[in-house]
């Protein structure tokens, strides 16, 4: 069983939902990332999504674009993100790490080389925004051989006809993008998310996480009432952007607030 699966199963057994924070690796500089990951775990994160900086982040809004640019200014790339994960693993063997980014850095490294390096570094899952199931057969097969979960996005526009392909290739969890747009866009509408999740669950047996537009504890609590996992990204990256002073503490206390709100969700 993969680390993501066992994490999800343990949470489900307790009637709780996963809290999945996202930060961009190397933002604002490569030195801080591992410390921030630990601070997030300490605050109650169950899985960490670590953004791999890319020069052309087409699916991201201005906040995560700027995070990518700050990291790239230090030339942080996939190789460094793997090294950061390995560093994190030295003191945390329990919390799954999912790399989130775009296809080209993985393509450039080569699927096989990447998969091996990722296993070695202790990476558990990979989410490439611009690799839909239609183009993912080869990548999915190689990652599967190495025991790495390939995580797919689902969107409000996804028709039932596409869900079977996702169900067949996806592992770990699937990530439902709550709105049509880029990261950091406006608030999500919990009722329409709830309705869509009912439809998705007819086809998708994996846990379903929801992200895009979750910016506060209250929204996280309400989403946790309908989803299996809550993903928070731009809100945290904004915190990083606000400056390095007390950053780990700020992220830690924000996540603590979200965690305690979520744990009252289905109480």
């Amino acid at each position: 069983m993969s680390r993501i699966e066992s994490t999800m199963q343990a949470l489900a057994a307790q009637g709780r939902q996963a809290l999945i924070p996202f930060i961009t690796a190397g933002d604002p500089n490569p030195g801080v990332t591992v410390g921030l990951m630990h601070a997030l775990v300490d605050g109650g994160a169950d899985i960490i999504e670590l953004g791999v900086p890319f020069s052309d982040p087409m699916a991201d809004g201005p906040v995560i674009q700027r995070a990518s640019e700050r990291a790239l200014a230090h030339r942080v790339s996939l190789r460094h993100v793997l090294a950061m994960t390995a560093e994190f693993r030295k003191t945390d063997s329990k919390t799954p790490v999912v790399l989130m980014g775009y296809a080209n850095p993985v393509e450039a490294m080569g699927y096989e080389t990447f998969a091996k390096a990722a296993v070695e570094a202790g990476v558990d899952g990979v989410l490439t925004v611009d690799l839909p199931p239609e183009e993912a057969e080869e990548c999915a097969a190689i990652l599967k051989t190495h025991g790495i979960d390939l995580i797919f996005l689902l969107a409000p526009t996804t028709p039932p006809s596409r869900l079977q392909a996702v169900q067949r290739l996806a592992r770990g969890y699937v990530y439902y993008v709550s709105l049509k747009g880029v990261t950091g866009a406006a608030h999500l509408d919990v009722d329409s998310v709830a309705a869509k999740l009912l439809e998705l669950r007819k086809y998708i047996s994996l846990p379903i996480g929801v992200g895009f537009g979750i910016r506060d504890a209250e929204t996280a609590r309400r989403v946790a009432g309908v989803a299996d996992a809550v993903v928070i990204g731009s809100r945290l990256v904004q915190e990083v952007e606000a400056g390095e002073d007390g950053l780990a503490e700020r992220l830690n206390s924000f996540i603590k607030g979200v965690r305690s709100a979520m744990d009252t969700a289905r109480a």
Binding site: F54, S55, D56, P57, M58, A59, D60, G61, P62, Q65, E69, L72, R75, S77, L78, R79, Y102, A103, N104, P105, V106, E107, A108, M109, V129, D130, L131, P132, E134, E135, F152, L153, L154, A155, P156, T157, T158, P159, R162, V177, K180, G181, V182, A185
Partner: protein
């Protein structure tokens, strides 16, 4: 099952139509190892819908009749082929013929595509169109057809290009479009395309994205090619009228590659016709400051929805490109060109900024034609090739656009304040 060759279905007046052996892309938009659909999930259904609607549209005689009517009466097609006699004599070798896309309404080949896509947008009930632009020619062509068909139009343009192509920015505004300068990344065409994609993913229900070149996710590389093939279809007839045979080589500049694929594609199955794409050599390939992925031997990668040869560093980050011409300043190339390179059917070369400028001035002085800086790259290679060939050889150069938009750039290089 393979899809029918859509361009083959675009009815042409070409009397020489041979059976088409070349048959690309496959059903999912692959040209060999290139092409495909690499976008975020939200856009997948929209691309599927676009493909279905496109297939229906080109099978609909009314749609095709309107497209052809617009090309004739609004764009002014067919564009002539012109024998550049004085310049050919000056170069002292092969005869150079120019396919005059510069004479189209709006001044470039771009309008062939925007008319087709705007008609498609209207048919799909979309009231708002968006576009990315480099030189501004595609932005102008999009703004033009949006005005023509009463659609709202937003054009994304890199901040650097807004500065160097100011006449076109104002032209778009006159036509009623909103021009949004893009300040992320390298502030050029690729960043404009990123921003257009972000707009599309946000407004996908109401908005049609008019991609300006034969790149992007399937079906764009196919449909842009099909709408641009009118260039080559006409040329095949015109060359026979003019010289009694097909040219020995067809030469076109390659940014994303739409003008080139438009003139190449109808010739792919014609034996003996060399197809030569000219990329932007910038300061020279050895300086690293260029926009010539095919010539420089770049590795394949994934950007803007397709796999293709791509200028990137060893970490897979996209490299900033350089060209004097905004329309060629792009790190990738349409996937069909990558494929034509792989199968050896087309050759790709580069012309530097300096060579393009020389050709620009020569065409002004010897032929009384002010070419676009993009097209000047094709001219520059023709000028290099012609003197090496006998006088009875024929080179057909796609003069993809006129140079009015570049006059401020040229004047500045000459130290003249307009």
């Amino acid at each position: 099952m393979q899809l029918q060759q859509p361009s083959h279905r675009l009815p042409s007046e070409n009397v020489m139509n041979e059976p088409l052996r070349y048959h690309q892309p496959d059903v999912r938009g692959h040209f060999g190892q290139h092409g495909g659909i690499y976008v975020a999930e939200t856009l997948m259904p929209a691309l599927d819908e676009l493909r279905v609607e496109y297939e229906k549209a080109i099978a609909d005689p009314d749609f095709m009749a309107e497209y052809r009517y617009e090309l004739k009466h609004y764009v002014g097609r067919p564009s002539p082929v012109y024998h550049a006699k004085r310049w050919s004599e000056q170069l002292g070798g092969a005869q150079i013929y120019l396919k005059r896309e510069d004479l189209n309404h709006t001044g470039a080949h771009k309008v062939n595509n925007t008319i087709g896509q705007a008609l498609l947008a209207r048919r799909m009930g979309k009231k708002r169109v968006i576009a990315e632009t480099g030189a501004g020619q595609h932005g102008v062509a999009s703004a033009t057809v949006a005005a023509r068909y009463g659609l709202e139009c937003v054009v994304y343009m890199g901040a650097e290009d807004v500065a160097r192509q100011s006449p076109n920015v104002y032209r778009m505004k006159l036509l009623g479009a909103t021009v949004v300068p893009v300040s992320s990344g390298s502030k050029t065409l690729k960043d404009a395309m990123n921003e257009a994609m972000r707009d599309w993913v946000t407004n996908v229900d109401s908005t049609y994205y008019i991609i300006g070149t034969c790149a992007g996710p399937h079906p764009y590389p196919m449909l842009v090619r099909d709408f641009q093939c009118v260039i080559g279809e006409e040329a095949k007839v015109q060359m026979v009228d003019l010289v009694g045979r097909q040219p020995d080589a067809v030469i076109a500049c390659v940014g994303g590659g739409s003008n080139a694929i438009g003139i190449f594609h109808p010739y792919v199955d014609v034996p003996g016709v060399r197809l030569i794409g000219v990329e932007a050599g910038g300061d020279g390939l050895d300086t690293g400051r260029h926009a010539a992925p095919l010539t420089a031997g770049a590795k394949p990668g994934v950007l803007h929805g397709n796999r293709t040869y791509l200028m990137q560093d060893e970490d897979g980050q996209i490299i900033e490109t350089h060209s004097i011409s905004a329309g060629l300043d792009y790190p990738g190339v349409g996937p069909e060109h990558s494929f034509l390179k792989d199968i050896g059917r087309a050759e790709y070369v580069a012309a530097t900024d300096k060579e393009a400028l020389q050709a620009f001035h020569d065409l002004c002085r010897f032929e009384g034609i002010i070419p676009a800086l993009e097209s000047s790259h094709a001219l520059a290679y023709a000028a290099r090739l012609a003197p090496t060939l006998p006088k009875d050889q024929v080179l057909l150069v796609n003069l993809s656009g006129r140079g009015d938009k570049d006059i401020p750039t040229i004047a500045k290089l000459d130290g003249i304040q307009l």
